[in-house]
Point group: C2
DNA sequence: GTCAAGTATCTCGATTTCGAGACATTTGTG
DNA sequence: CACAAATGTCTCGAAATCGAGATACTTGAC
């Protein structure tokens, strides 16, 4: 889950601190979401549908960063709880579109603001200026790593 | 798994890009480690014992970022594969100390260098200067978030 | 010494996640 | 049109992870 602590190997240090920072911030997220009786991926689905409107399953999958079989599993649970509805796309019959039910919308409307508040608090160790700097660096890092991944999975 | 894309809410953006960057880099790690028939947490245990020597289970747990019950599970597997040995501490009989067997040592010696190489490549989207900057920012972010977590889990 | 509280490890059951691949559909090529 | 390749979704079984709590030991207060 996390690599080596060399004394001057900055790339490996970067990987270590990235993993640790993600872990710590994600614990805030988990704890915040757990208050509302949801898991992080369930929350992720509701949240993306709330902010983006109706989306195909594959699009939701990309945004919540889990594999397709897990996405099916999570969506199943949300459908059973009456928070999300599936419908077939008219233009591409492979595609299943997801939307919030009104109950789902009411739920996410209620819980998103306190969750966002918790996440803002989770990252306050960094002052605004450095947050913006970190956003830039992490965006570059993430996009670069993702690009290097396609068709080149072996490293 | 990942939050909201607001237009000027830098803290939430930071959480989004942190999650994405971690995910992308971790995929490199997973893929690299999978070449050698190991999972990421198994690799983590071998790696920390390789670099730190004999350690108590609880110390290993802190470093591989999983819960204690998962640590037991992973160590069990490594012991069954003859890569790691358990022994009781002489000074504190609650403690179980872990060491690499010679087979474990040979394995991690062989696979660590190519894995480190893969991880260095995974983060090359950032030039050295910005890597060092990112290390500083992420360290502050992670330590701050971890601190805010203790005894304050609700957000 | 004794007892409560804290710490380290492990057990167990349940949940989450993955990976491989099945299936239907669409897209691109001739 | 026909057919190969790509894409989107889902099924299934296996693996990883967690959470609660059991157990054993240590520490600190008295």
């Amino acid at each position: 889950m996390k690599p080596s602590p060399s004394h001057a190997d900055v790339p490996l240090q970067l990987w270590v601190v990235l993993a640790r920072a993600f872990d710590a911030v994600e614990r805030h997220s988990r704890a915040s979401i757990a208050r509302f009786g949801l898991g992080t991926t369930e929350f992720g689905v509701l949240e993306v549908l709330y902010h983006k409107g109706e989306l195909p399953v594959c699009e939701v999958q990309r945004r919540i960063l889990v594999e397709s079989s897990s996405t099916t599993y999570v969506v199943d649970k949300l459908v059973k709880r009456g928070l999300v509805r599936r419908r077939h796309s008219g233009t591409d019959r492979r595609v299943v579109l997801l939307t919030l039910t009104s109950a789902g919308r009411r739920l996410i409307q209620r819980i998103f603001p306190p969750h966002a508040h918790a996440m803002r608090r989770a990252v306050t160790a960094l002052p605004p200026r450095e947050q913006a700097q970190a956003v830039r660096l992490l965006r570059t890092l993430g996009l670069g790593a993702a690009e290097r991944l396609e068709g080149n999975e072996g490293g």
